[in-house]
Amino acid sequence: MATAPIVNPFREGLRQDRATEPCQLVIFGASGDLTHRKLLPAIYNLAQAQLVPPSFNVVGFARQPIGDDGFRQRLRDGVAQSSEVRQRDEGTLNALADRMHYVTGNFDDPRAFATLKSALAEFDQRYGTGGNRIFYFATPASLYGGIAEQLHAAGLTSAADGKPAGFVRFVVEKPFGRDLASARALNAELLRFVTEDQIYRIDHYLGKETVQNILVFRFANGIFEPIWNRRYVDHVQITVAESIGIESRGAFYEETGVVRDIMQNHMIQLTSLVAMEPPQTFDARDFRDEKIRVIEATKPLNTDALDQAAVRGQYGPGSAGGAPVVGYRQEDGVAKDSITPTYAAFKIIVDNWRWAGVPFYVRSGKRLPKRVTEIAIQFKEAPHLPFLKSQVEAVEGNVLALRIQPNEGISLKFGAKVPGPSMRIRSVMMEFAYGATFGTEDASPYERLILDCMKGDQTLFDRADGVEAAWQLVDPVLSAWEADRSVRFPNYPAGSWGPAAADQLVARDGRQWRRL
């Protein structure tokens, strides 16, 4: 008869109700920018908050021969420079640095992986990490398959040194491919060596507190869900606007563009969270099933009449922050005749019972007037107004706005009577501001997601079918736009809200973009 597994009886009711298991975190691309700017400060924050397991260490792996000392210095520099570090504590920093090691090697060199393997075995003994490994791929996606293959060949994806295998988890960063075919190929490549429940695909947007609050707002409050449907909602607008340009990432952006950078992942995630049905539970399977159902229910954009449902743009010279700025084609690393879009707007139709006939207008762009990410639920107007037309002409429909960044919060616009002897109605905003209500500082998205990975919780990570469904949606648009070079770019000046065609996209339906 099988014996029931022993459960830790002391864990119940404590601050962390799910334990982080002992583990080694191995970072490929450990000398790179992502590791330095995001990962190491996030790991430090977790250590400072005593959220990493006591049996824990970090191993960096990269080509650059920086050694243990160099890797530890990156930690110190990253912590010193990061705005996401909440409390700098020398004791925590030293204790973490002592548990950081570095292996130099090429990603295609079997000897380097053999060295890594023996180092991990030694650290298992030293730190008591029990053969549990998290392999974080902080490298370009083109290297994922090769690294996975080397790990497998070195025997690092299964049993560790003859002992029963601990867990092995892969954390991979977006972009997951650059189109549907490459995403499928990438998934297939990783799935040759590990199973789906071992792969943690990070979309850092899902690690944001305010994004997770969309779920709390919808499903922990009884008053909103009954009106969250076609009967009451006129349309939804989602904006992911950036005021910055492409900075020094011209070559990267030329290959990516706004559709791959934002629309295929962050935008579709936000749309799913707004449109999904309540999951049975918030475990990884139920939650991700419901998210993916939204994507699957979304009508493909009609490429025969694409301009009726999608608009692309590229910024020209204009202004930002009160100073003139160059256009996209004048940026370093950008082709003079580039047709890479820096702006996109889609009209999305989620073709299901709840959302039939409710368009989701989504837009994202660079060099827009301000940095703002916001979801606005525009409600239908009251069916009958028992007021004179002159009294209510300034009244607009109710809008519920969920602000993801900055000034995270929620606002509700409604009509109120202007005090006085006559009946005059004016729209007013009722505001909830995170910063005014919760004094604690948010954990960074990477902190949350690394912690979830340590706990083995995949809820906030993308699943292969979800990634592929999202590509399936945007792939025809990308193909159509990349084949059509007749577009006249630039078509919006830096510092404006995008091309005129984006306004027409919503105006055709008798609507307009919110002024943000």
Binding site: F10, G130, G439
Partner: protein
């Protein structure tokens, strides 16, 4: 007004009946220095000062809390020097929050005769923000048969006490246990002393997160807790030691009646402080021992297998929490704390 009542300079006296108007006016009159305020409030805190001389200290703690939580805090000072049948009130004119913070709390201080309990309770009740939980922080000694406590505790969703102020022993926990039945058990109870034991509980739990240590768990059938004895020798078990003992027994039933509490003389530790927690086996040398370490402050843990071989060692950094931080953690939730209640019933 008694000279013992020392309030921060931003507190201004106000007619008790006008407190609500004065607070409302704050949100309607833009503060040009601080910028536009956003009105948010998450809870009511009724803080009862044990002695007028402690008003400044309590006010500082409330300020620390108010700087990170938008709260409505009503601090109560009772003193014979106060006027009879009259509640005097002060409101803080500005926010306690750090410059740049959006947090803006509302702080009121009331001064009353100890005998005016009903008048005081009625005044406080009228000042609570609607629909939000009320936490009643009693900073005094044992509240048994204290009229002020009884009058104010009935307004609370959660009563917050510190059993260290009740004598820090078994009798102190008896008092806390009685509070659980207060208001027919409808009010939750938080004990700052229980929060003080959190690092021990978290360290024990973290050790058993390790699969190899967890595999030893079935062997453990007894436990011991060492606590600092006073300078004059043996001291009855402290409330902290008893709480940890109760928690161990409530989580692992076979430890019931098998937790030994041992006073030890060790310099540098205040009386009652827990110094070591061990789980062991009568049948083998298997053990888990957690011991307080001085600088850098922390708890060192060692797990030994059936042969007495060390299989795992840990270091858990710890920090001593200030009273404000203990209070902060105690007002996380207005709900009853089943873990504390189980520990109280197993000590």
């Amino acid at each position: 007004m008694t000279p013992k009542l020392v309030l921060p300079p931003n507190f201004v006296p106000i007619d008790t009946g006008r407190v609500e108007d004065a607070l409302a006016a704050r949100w309607q009159t833009p503060d040009h220095d601080a910028g536009p305020a956003v009105h948010a409030c998450t809870l009511n805190l009724i803080a009862c000062v044990e002695d007028a001389a402690a008003t400044a200290a309590v006010s500082a703690i409330v300020d620390q809390l108010a700087a990170t939580h938008p709260i409505r805090a009503v601090t109560i000072v009772t003193d014979e020097a106060a006027e009879a049948n009259r509640i005097q009130a002060w409101v803080a004119a500005g926010s306690a929050a750090a410059p740049g913070s959006q947090i803006s709390s509302e702080e009121i201080t009331l001064f009353a005769q100890p005998d005016d309990t009903e008048l005081l309770a009625a005044t406080v009740e009228g000042m609570l923000a609607a629909d939000l939980p009320a936490y009643f922080w009693w900073r005094g000694g044992s509240p048994t048969r204290d009229h002020t406590f009884s009058a104010l505790a009935r307004l609370a969703n959660k009563i917050v006490v510190d059993s260290i102020r009740f004598g820090d022993g078994a009798a102190a926990l008896d008092t806390v246990r009685r509070l659980l039945d207060y208001r027919d058990g409808r009010a939750g109870v938080a004990d700052l002393n229980w929060v003080r034991t959190a690092p021990w509980r978290e360290a024990v739990a973290a050790c058993f997160d390790d699969p190899e240590a967890l595999a030893l768990l079935p062997l453990f059938d007894r436990a011991s807790i060492n606590y600092a004895s006073g300078p004059e020798g043996a001291l009855p078990p402290s409330a902290r030691a008893l709480l940890i003992s109760g928690w161990l027994a409530s989580r692992l039933n076979r430890l019931r009646g098998r937790v030994r509490l041992k006073p030890v003389v060790e310099a540098g530790h205040g009386p009652g402080r827990v110094l070591k927690v061990s789980l062991s086996s009568r049948a083998s040398p298997a053990a888990l021992e957690l011991e307080r370490r001085p600088a850098p402050t922390g708890v060192v843990a060692v797990a030994k297998d059936q042969s007495g071989r060390t299989i795992r060692e840990w270091l858990f950094p710890t920090t001593t929490l200030s009273e404000a931080e203990l209070l902060h953690r105690s007002i996380d939730s207005p709900a009853r704390d089943p873990l504390l209640e189980a520990a109280l019933h197993h000590d």
